[in-house]
């Protein structure tokens, strides 16, 4: 861990952006600090300057919905705030179910949604869900303000489209069609509160017995959350039955190329993709 880094606590969002404006990679934001402290301890990152969002928390901690039912979540909203939010419960219940199984309450009380996404770690539970829901994030700097679709956001291990000069200020989750049912399956191979070995987010709409919408995202097995468009295409416009589900699961097995790590070999992770795609689809079919 580097010895001397500067710690600053700007009083306004403007000052935060100022602090980041040099675009220097040695400067980073700290929100909850739960992820940052780990990579600092492991020597993966040594900051020169840390910009705490502590004093701007008030302003960046909110969960709002517009009259259409779109959700807006400020970056300093903690995972615990989201978990307990009636608005999220109403508009995105899949998130609530998933949050119950993220780390433990101690972590959820401090970890923020902004940090969760900006961290760019494939082993997190929210990114695949938000990706499947078509979420986007707002990135702001002293010079620019832009929206980035989550599907374009993750680039690799700890790599996102955020520039070092940018802060992620808000997450936008579009209103989901009422007829869409969704679920998230988290699978761990070590302790049950571990980071996922595999995460599968799925949303499905069936009209007149025919799949009229399907979104399937896997995470943790690959370096970025991956939407299985090929598998989705197999299902669109079809009548979902056991046989088709099996085909979809096998297709997923073929196309997902997992990375081997301490939580599983390539072989095993492929197997788990197959099993969980099957389970997710079976579950949604049952609920549809």
């Amino acid at each position: 861990m580097a010895l001397d880094f500067e710690w600053i606590e700007p009083e306004s969002l403007e000052e935060v952006k100022q602090a980041l404006s040099s675009g220097d990679i040695g400067t980073r934001i700290v929100s909850g600090g739960t992820a940052l402290s780990l990579i600092m301890k492991q020597g993966i990152y040594s900051p020169e300057r840390l910009v705490s969002l502590k004093r701007v928390k008030q302003q960046l901690n909110y969960i709002k919905a517009d009259e259409l039912g779109n959700l807006y979540i400020g970056c300093m909203t903690t995972l615990r705030d989201m978990e307990l939010s009636p608005l999220v419960q109403k508009l995105a219940p899949v998130i609530i179910d998933a949050l119950h199984h993220v780390a433990n309450p101690r972590i959820r009380y401090v970890a923020s949604i902004g940090g969760n996404l900006s961290h760019g770690d494939a082993h997190l539970d929210l990114p695949p869900i938000l990706l499947a829901m078509g979420a986007k994030i707002k990135a702001e700097s002293t010079t620019e303000e832009r929206w980035i679709e989550l599907k374009d956001f993750f680039h690799g291990y700890y790599e996102t489209s955020l520039e070092p000069s940018e802060i992620l200020t808000e997450v936008f989750i579009p209103k989901q069609d009422n007829r869409l049912i969704g679920t998230y399956m988290k699978y761990t191979t070590l302790s049950n509160d571990d980071w996922p070995t595999l995460g599968v987010a799925a949303f499905l709409r069936i009209e007149d017995g025919i799949v009229s919408e399907i979104r399937l995202v896997v995470s943790a097995v690959t370096d970025v959350p991956t939407q299985l468009t090929e598998v989705e295409e197999m299902l669109w416009g079809k009548s979902l039955d056991e046989e088709l589900i099996e085909k979809a699961a096998l297709r997923a097995y073929d196309i997902v190329e997992p990375l081997e790590d301490l939580r599983g070999s390539v072989w095993y992770k492929k197997e788990m993709v197959k099993v969980h795609i099957r389970r997710v689809l079976n579950q949604l079919l049952l609920e549809a």
């Binding site: 010895l3 433990n104 302790s191 509160d193 301490l262 095993y268 197997e271």
Partner: protein, 791 residues
């Protein structure tokens, strides 16, 4: 009134949960310096050159010490409980990735940590050896050229190392006639079982402070389970009389074996001598991983049985992966080694137990002291045999389990070992009989991809023998008392129990007895706080010391009342004449009677020493190898997901024979804690090495069980078969519930799926792989739940 058998709350409970408890981690001294270590990055090699100049120039760095500096000091730079094979800092050679090579002493720990990066080491790499079986072969790279027996413990005197080999100990047991035994067998079973290295992970890391007084007298405060050994061993290193060394140990934030013997204490003491200031070394959690592990094992087991259900011969070959330094491995190899054939009455037993050096982090004591690795093998094989022969595995055990008066493979007659009772408790609590009958007649029922089944296993451990515990009990003039003992309260609640024993003898309320923490200037010698031995050994010493106090009180009171001491009793903080209770005096009055003033202390002391007969070096036979034996058993119900291989333990039942539960709540806690700790060992805990480097040496990648991993139902059951020599009949309990968890789960998996996994842990991937390799094998006994519903 009686303090015995009462579930007193932990006396330190409130102070711990309110953050008031003193730990070495929080201790500071004026002018204290901090240490950080540079560790070897290669598994095996010679140190050609170390350049510390850049690090020493960093402001705030006081000194960088290396093995070269040790050479010029008048010290014994090697230490260890069995062999003095571990250098204070690497001297000329490194033996594992993580071996301490240099120590930076600086004004604060951050500076020291930074400076470590500026030390330049040039190595000449040597061929390493990582696999325990390869390392045991002749011709393998030799990790220690010389081996120096330590001679500190009587039980290790007879274990002589093999020169020029990585086998540092070969323990042998020969009982009966192997050849004849196998000839008489109707069936022979041969299996190999393995366990991996794993770690203890106490919440508090290893930490120590050393300070040499101006006249050179050394003080050490350390988070260590064996203060008396630290004193004698560091005295040896420093070439000081033991009286010039003072070791103090406050509460420990957990130990589990990783804080036994000398870990960082010799190093901090040497550094304190060099800089003449207090120095503190606190390891990081990541360093704890590579400081000590649990022995990985390879156990080759061959068993001969007869058609009438008896084990007639058993051949055990156990390899203990000791890593780079022997630590206490030789004792594990012997003392656990001699239990390798299981708690059964087997006429012909042959055990070879080898402790082998490899170029990995050193292995040592881990709650259970090697026994869980052995139980894993023998209890797995019990079920393999029973299944093959079509026997009920529990009956198969009943048929040969060691009962009172039977002769163990070591030659010792078994006394006070309630194994038969444990088996019955397991049977009724998990509902084994019904389960097994149901399975025999209807097969196993599958719910979707999930199958439920039950499994049982038992184990037996011999307590560390010989060993010694000394205690002093002092009664003060106001009728309160203190107990002076070197037992370390590391979370197991020993302060509570030790005080309870003294209170019981003296007829005092528990609150009036204080237990003084280990301070080698004050508290007498004690072998170690480990091996489930303290309640028995130290309990006995305290019991007898308190009796001595009681006798002195009675002597004086008898004279006062003009009765015989036998006519007196202690009750409600008074001495009473039993026949005439109106004749009584308070303890304060007794003191006044003795010293003719209301002051002074009545002192009792005792050094409790075990009897012991050293085993024959060729046959391992001894009629008195352990002062007591303590058994434990586990029953589980699991649910295995046959598509993922993941096991969910639904019920975990631990049964232990503790002799007498002095504090039942504490006993339940010990049984519970040990079983949950083993749950992680059974299902996913494992150190993963890549070319000798432990690649999951951090808590983000090495996971331990959390609340979400707890079984839906856990139960702990106490069996009490009193031991004639135990205090109030008590034996030990700290390790009891650790023995049998792993095989109980594997046996349940076997019942569920017909799949036998012989390697620990039962990770989902390993289980799924085994399931796929054995497809169809067990289909006949597994029926789909849906089918049943339909039919």
């Amino acid at each position: 009134m009686s303090a015995l058998g009462k579930s007193y709350k932990r006396i330190e409970g409130m102070s711990k949960v309110t953050g008031q408890t003193e730990y070495v981690m929080n201790m500071e001294m004026p002018g204290m310096l901090h240490v950080k270590l540079l560790r070897s990055t290669i598994p095996h090699g010679l140190i050609k050159h170390i350049d510390v100049s850049a690090a020493e120039q960093i402001p705030g760095v006081i000194r960088v010490v290396t093995g070269e500096d040790l050479k010029s000091m008048d010290i014994n730079p090697y230490y260890g409980p069995a062999f003095r094979d571990q250098p204070v800092l690497a001297i000329d050679k490194v033996r594992y990735v993580g071996d301490p090579v240099a120590a930076v002493i600086a004004e604060d720990s951050k500076i020291a940590e930074d400076a470590v990066n500026y030390i330049d080491v040039e190595y000449k790499e040597l061929e390493p050896v990582f696999d325990v079986l390869e390392a045991a072969q002749p011709g393998a790279p030799v990790i220690h050229e010389v081996i120096r027996p330590a001679g500190s413990f009587a039980d290790l005197k007879n274990l002589l190392p093999k020169e020029n080999s990585n086998i540092c100990i070969h323990y042998k047991l020969r009982h009966g006639d192997m050849k004849k035994g196998f000839e008489q067998a109707d069936h022979i079973f041969e299996d190999t079982f393995t366990t991996p290295a794993a770690v203890h992970l106490p919440m508090e890391q290893h930490v120590a402070i050393a300070y040499a007084e101006p006249d050179g007298r050394m003080n050490i405060w350390t988070a260590n389970q064996s203060p008396s050994f630290v004193r004698s061993e560091v005295a040896h290193v420093l070439k000081m009389p033991e009286s010039r060394l003072r070791v103090r140990v406050p509460y420990l934030g957990g130990g589990f074996g990783t804080k036994l013997y000398v870990k960082i204490e010799a190093l901090v003491a040497v550094l304190a001598l060099i800089v003449k200031k207090p120095v503190k070394l606190a390891l990081t959690m990541d360093e704890v991983f590579i400081t000590l592990t649990k022995h990985g094992t390879v156990f080759k087991m061959k068993t001969g049985i007869t058609n009438d259900g008896r084990i007639i011969a058993r051949h055990c070959e156990v390899y203990w992966d000791g890593g780079a330094y022997a630590d206490i491995g030789p004792r594990i190899t012997q003392k656990s080694g001699f239990t390798a054939a299981g708690p059964y009455d087997i006429p012909n037993v042959h055990i070879d137990s080898y402790n082998v050096y490899t170029n990995k982090a050193p292995a040592g004591a881990f709650r259970g002291f090697g026994v869980p690795q052995l139980v894993w093998a023998y209890e797995s094989q019990m079920d393999i045999i029973a299944e093959k022969m079509g026997w009920d595995p529990l009956n198969f055990r009943r048929k040969q389990v060691l009962t009172e008066g039977k002769i163990h493979a070591t030659g010792q007659k078994i006394v006070s070992v309630g194994l038969d009772k444990i088996i019955e408790e397991l049977n009724t609590s998990i509902g084994w009989e019904e389960f097994f009958k149901q399975k025999q007649s209807n097969g196993i029922v599958k719910h979707g991809s999930k199958i439920r089944a039950k499994g049982v296993a038992i184990g037996l451990k011999a307590v560390l023998t010989p060993s010694i515990s000394g205690a002093i009990v002092t009664l003060f003039a106001d009728g309160s008392a203190s107990v002076y003992c070197s037992t370390v309260d590391m979370g197991q609640g020993s302060d509570t129990i030790m005080g309870q024993i003294a209170a019981e003898v003296l007829g005092l309320p528990r609150e009036k007895v204080h237990v003084v923490h280990p301070d080698t200037d004050v508290t007498p010698y004690d072998t170690i706080t480990a091996a489930s031995r303290s309640t028995f050994y130290m309990g006995n010493a305290i019991y007898k010391a308190a009796e001595e106090v009681k006798n002195k009180i009675f002597e004086s009171a008898a004279e006062f009342f003009d009765v015989k001491p036998e006519h007196l009793a202690l009750q409600d903080e008074k001495v009473i004449v039993v026949e005439k209770p109106e004749l009584s005096m308070t303890l304060g009055e007794v003191v006044k009677e003795i010293f003719h003033m209301p002051a002074g202390s009545i002192i009792g002391q005792n050094v409790y020493e075990s009897h012991y007969q050293s085993p024959d070096p060729e046959t391992g036979q001894s009629e008195d190898i352990a002062i007591f034996w303590f058994p434990g058993g586990t029953a589980v119900e699991i649910e295995v997901d046959t598509e993922t291989g993941k096991i969910d333990v639904l019920q975990l039942i631990s049964v232990g024979d503790v002799g007498k539960a002095i504090n039942p709540f504490n006993v339940h806690q010990q049984l519970y804690g040990a079983s949950i700790m083993q749950l992680g060992q059974a299902l996913f805990e494992e150190c993963i090495f890549d070319y000798g480097q432990m690649i999951n040496a951090n808590m983000a990648d090495y996971k331990v069980p959390t609340f979400k991993d707890l079984p839906a139902k856990t139960e702990t059951i106490i069996v009490e078969v009193p031991h004639p020599e135990g205090p109030f009949g008590a034996k030990g309990v700290g390790e009891t519930a650790s023995f049998a968890v792993q095989p109980a789960i594997a046996n349940a998996l076997y019942q569920a799926t017909g799949v036998r996994v012989k390697d620990m842990p039962l990770t989902p991937e390993r289980v799924l792989q085994a399931l796929k390799q054995t497809t169809n094998r067990s289909e006949s006994t597994i029926r789909d739940f849906k089918e049943k519903a339909k039919g």
